[in-house]
């Protein structure tokens, strides 16, 4: 639920381009870090987990329009690095159908990627002490709260700051173009508080309500899935994979 799909044209170009660069950088790094054979074995798996995330988003849970994103789950299943790639691909595929801006794929990936990372490590730490169910619920909901806060802050500071815009229409078009170029640089200097205030005092209260419901559903949904695994195939939880599985497929090159 943490992906409020921000449309195009709201966040300044510098920001989303930076977002893309960092996200792609991380993907390069993940793909590099793992040796050839290993990553090739994982390619179909990453594709499948990505497909599952997309499908999770389209299974209705009843008459309320909420769905699962399964981001934290994907981290638990294939590890945070690969799950980051999955998140990128999900955002890209969705942006291609106008579900969230195409320019925001990078930034969205960074935020949901953070959620995956936090969720994964929380789950790993907690599940050593607590049961699978509670650790999943706690890990997922904390990760979601953090990513949602990041999202709101980002939207607040990056989108809200374009308050300089009202003047544009009083100027000639030439000036508009020039100012546009400067705009991004100026944005940084202003306090994010102004934007954030607007956000919290408008329709956003409703959004936060939806978020609370969504958070609960995501956490418990993920927990139900994990519980199912623990009963049927505990080895599927990342890290617990038996070594033989890999042994079976070592191939001479």
């Amino acid at each position: 639920m943490s992906h409020i799909h921000i449309p195009d044209g709201i966040i300044g170009s510098v920001w989303w381009i930076t977002g893309y660069l960092i996200a792609l950088g991380i993907i390069y790094f993940v793909l590099r870090k793992v040796e050839g054979e290993e990553i090739r074995r994982k390619v179909p798996m990453i594709g499948i987990v990505t497909a599952i995330m997309i499908i999770g988003m389209s299974v209705p849970l009843g008459i309320v329009p909420v769905h699962l994103t399964l981001a934290v789950l994907s981290g638990i299943l294939i590890g945070p690095g690969f799950a980051f790639i999955s998140v990128f691909v999900v955002n890209l595929m969705l942006a291609l159908v106008a579900h969230g801006g195409i320019t925001l794929v990078g930034l969205n990936t960074l935020i949901v990627g953070t959620e995956v990372l936090i969720g994964y490590y929380l789950f790993k730490t907690l599940s050593k002490k607590l049961g699978q169910m509670p650790s999943t619920v706690i890990a997922t909901s904390i990760a979601l709260i953090i990513s949602m806060t990041m999202m709101v802050t980002m939207v607040g500071s990056l989108a809200g700051l374009r308050n300089a815009m009202p003047d544009f229409h009083l100027h000639s078009h030439e000036e508009q173009l020039i100012e546009e170029g400067h705009e991004e640089a100026i944005e940084n200097d202003e306090s994010p508080a102004a934007g954030a205030k607007y956000i919290f005092f408008t329709g956003w209260a409703a959004v936060i309500m939806v978020f609370v419901v969504g958070n609960l559903l995501e956490s418990f949904g993920t927990a139900y899935i994990i519980r199912f695994f623990m009963k049927v195939r505990p080895d599927l939880i990342y890290e617990k994979k038996p070594k033989e599985l890999d042994e079976n497929l070592k191939i001479d090159q």
Binding site: D235, P242, I251, D252
Partner: protein, 292 residues
């Protein structure tokens, strides 16, 4: 002739500790043969095929393909074997049918024209030229099977392995598939290894049959020989093909009849029997009469 495949008393242990053993008789395939592997669900047919393909390595026993150990010489063996597994959906990789058929030659870095020629000729052979431009998930089940077959045949392998190729096909598509496989074997000399639960096609397509059951290869031989071993068949959850069974029963009753391979032969045999019967009876009776 040197056998092209030789498997001796294989044992495999899956990661979840399921033990599959395929002992008993040796599994031997000669070049150009059409082999069918029969056995109940869970007997280890697919496991055996995975070993021959070098996807698994045996805990015990030996697997040799063209004199090599497939698991160790994966890349050499791979180039000589084509395979179509049961679930064809998972095997079609290419974004378009053309890309899928061209997958292996492109990975082998052949040049463009050569690839194009190969893809088109195999598509022509299987009658799917019209589909080359299509996206695989819009094809019907039978078409997908043909695409998967094309992809595995494009390098003209020596051996073709098919796991349940007749599954979920309607009778006509099945008959077409049988005809196609026989043609591949006859014209291109490709060695065929097929598993199936559809016992009625076995006499038509198999030179030799292996029966797996309870961790062992319990028998092998030409279809007729195998089907005659009633006890062995029954133990392996198998029933002989309908025609075979019917004609065996007649034979056991003392009628002089040959076990047919297909419907046509069955008809001819029966008519022959019915006619002969008449003549013989005529003859007998005439004789008797004469004696009288």
């Amino acid at each position: 002739m040197e056998p092209i495949i030789k498997v001796q008393c294989l044992k495999h242990i899956y990661p979840d500790k399921t033990e599959v053993s395929i002992c008993g008789l040796d599994f031997i395939v000669n070049p150009g043969e059409k082999i069918v592997i029969l056995g109940p669900n869970g007997a280890g047919k697919t496991t055996l095929l995975s070993h021959i393909l070098g996807l698994l390595s045996p805990v015990e026993g030996t697997v040799e393909v063209m004199g090599l150990k497939p698991y160790k010489n994966f890349n050499t063996i791979r180039k000589n074997i084509g395979v179509v597994f049961q679930n064809v959906d998972e095997q079609i990789i290419g974004p378009r049918v053309y890309d899928d058929i061209a997958f292996t030659p492109r990975n082998e870095r052949m040049n463009k024209n050569e690839i194009d020629e190969k893809v088109k000729s195999v598509a022509r052979c299987l009658g799917i030229e019209g589909l080359l431009d299509k996206i695989p998930h819009y094809l019907s089940g039978g078409q997908k099977k043909k695409v998967a077959l094309a992809g595995s045949m494009v390098m003209l392998p020596k051996i073709l392995i098919l796991d349940e190729p007749f599954d979920a096909l309607d009778p006509k598509s099945k008959a077409e598939m049988v005809a196609l496989l026989k043609e591949l074997n006859e014209i291109h000399g490709i060695t065929l290894i097929i598993t199936t639960h559809d016992i009625n096609v076995v006499p038509e397509i198999a030179d030799r049959v292996y029966v797996l059951n309870d961790g062992k290869i319990v028998t092998c031989g030409n279809p007729q020989e195998v089907f005659n071993q009633v006890e062995v068949m029954k133990a392996a959850n198998l029933e002989p093909p309908l025609l075979t069974e019917l004609f065996s029963r007649l034979k056991n009753k003392g009628y002089n009849i040959k076990i047919p391979k297909n419907l046509k032969e069955a008809e001819e045999e029966l008519i022959k029997l019915l006619e002969t019967k008449k003549i013989i009876t005529d003859f007998n009776i005439t004789n008797e009469e004469k004696v009288v």
